[in-house]
Symmetry: C2
Subunit: 231 residues, 2 copies
DNA sequence: TTCCATTTTGGCATTGAGTGCTATAAAGTC
DNA sequence: GACTTTATAGCACTCAATGCCAAAATGGAA
């Protein structure tokens, strides 16, 4: 009550910062999540994630340690950035697909679509993905951050094949799909394949064939050091 | 430098405890990993993982906090128990399979085989699996603990289809397979399906068909509460 | 201008995990 | 009994994360 509501069901990672409307009352925030993320990623990239303390990040941004934790719930969360927003897109993509399109095809196209990024974002994204797939603390945290992603996929699968989203079928599809996506991300972040969506597409095509060994063209693609082009 | 090495490349989870042979020199250990695990799991089960401090575990066992960390690298590692030993079995199963047997069939049988447990172990295993798949800190840690599992599978796949174990194909199979296994574990730990290997088998059969929607018999199995029969 | 409500910030204290160092206790050997 | 080996306990320390409260900053109202 006593609140000029305008919707604003957006404050997932930003607790009190970023009010729903642009009313400017009270003290203005001294920084932004984006600014903090840029400074932090720069430190992570140069000194390493574990070797960078929250105090150093806060000091680089020009805020106190306590304020840092008002913008991000943890040091790890900085690396994920605005990941939550992408989940809405994934759900829309999955639920908006025609019923007669095969399930795994919908899934593949949805994941590919939600992972298209502009050329300007790719450098920072590669740093993020590289950290997520190599630093143990972040590899660990990814399981928690991607849990909601799994829920979205499991809901979609449950609608298609029936049963509860918690039952074996939907859960297996969701977690296997997550594995495929993470494999694509990690491979893209490792070497310099500039084609992130291509890697995702290939991973999901492999998944949808049940990893059949016969179509070798699906297997010999993303291997930069061995295959010398051709074939 | 200045270090009398004796080999001993076995100390993964048990740093100084448990020497390779049974020579009894020096002070004898005052407890065992198993004893600590039992006490800790009991506390986790009753009070919750996060609400249980290492001090409480140590006090329950009758050792000091510092000694606890000589038996386990972290509080989370207690829940995994002797997980490392199973990895050797998995590798043996995978590498010992005949070349003409289909890859995904070998994988399914290997994972099923390494997850057979005696009736006496199932109660504790369910507690472990329940914690691993529900407590956020453990869900997170699972990504790190299962990384080696993924490496074993990726090595196996790379031998079959060629290329580096780090390339997209093997990585995708490995991570998707891990997802399938985790889904089976979680479903088994949730409800009271006493058939753990059955769940694993079903998950890997789904995976090997590329999650084809048509064979409905694969999808409608593990769904205890809903499924009022009829579509 | 002064007071007030609102919102962000910063400092302080606290908890808890995890690590390094050192002294001590227990066991066998000479 | 002296010596070596091994495990333990205790202490100090770092760092992430949280709760609490006072102070600062901003706009609006009296």
């Amino acid at each position: 009550m006593a609140d000029s509501d305008t919707g604003g069901a957006e404050g997932v990672g930003a607790p009190a910062v970023r009010p729903p409307t642009d009313i400017t009352r009270g003290r203005r925030p001294s920084t932004t999540r984006e600014h903090i993320a840029r400074q932090a990623l720069d430190l992570f990239d140069r000194r390493g994630f574990d070797a960078t303390t929250v105090d150093e990040i806060a000091s680089a941004v020009g805020i106190s340690r306590r304020t840092f934790f008002r913008y991000y719930d943890s040091k790890r969360d900085v690396v994920w950035g605005e990941f939550d927003a992408e989940m809405v897109r994934l759900r829309d993509q999955l639920m908006g697909a025609p019923r007669d399109e095969p399930m795994m095809e919908v899934l593949r196209r949805a994941v590919v679509a939600t992972n298209r990024f502009g050329a300007g974002e790719l450098d920072e994204l590669r740093i993020r993905m590289g950290l997520i797939s190599t630093v143990p603390a972040l590899v660990a945290h990814s399981a928690v951050r991607y849990a909601e992603w799994c829920d979205v996929v499991a809901d979609f699968v449950a609608r298609r094949v029936g049963g509860s989203p918690k039952s074996l079928g939907p859960q297996t599809v969701a977690r296997a799909a997550l594995g495929a996506a993470m494999a694509a991300f990690a491979c893209w972040a490792r070497h310099d394949s500039d084609d992130l969506t291509g890697e995702v597409d290939r991973a999901f095509r492999l998944l949808a064939t049940g990893f059949d060994e016969k179509p070798l063209r699906l297997w010999v693609t993303g291997d930069p050091q061995s295959s010398s082009s051709g074939s």
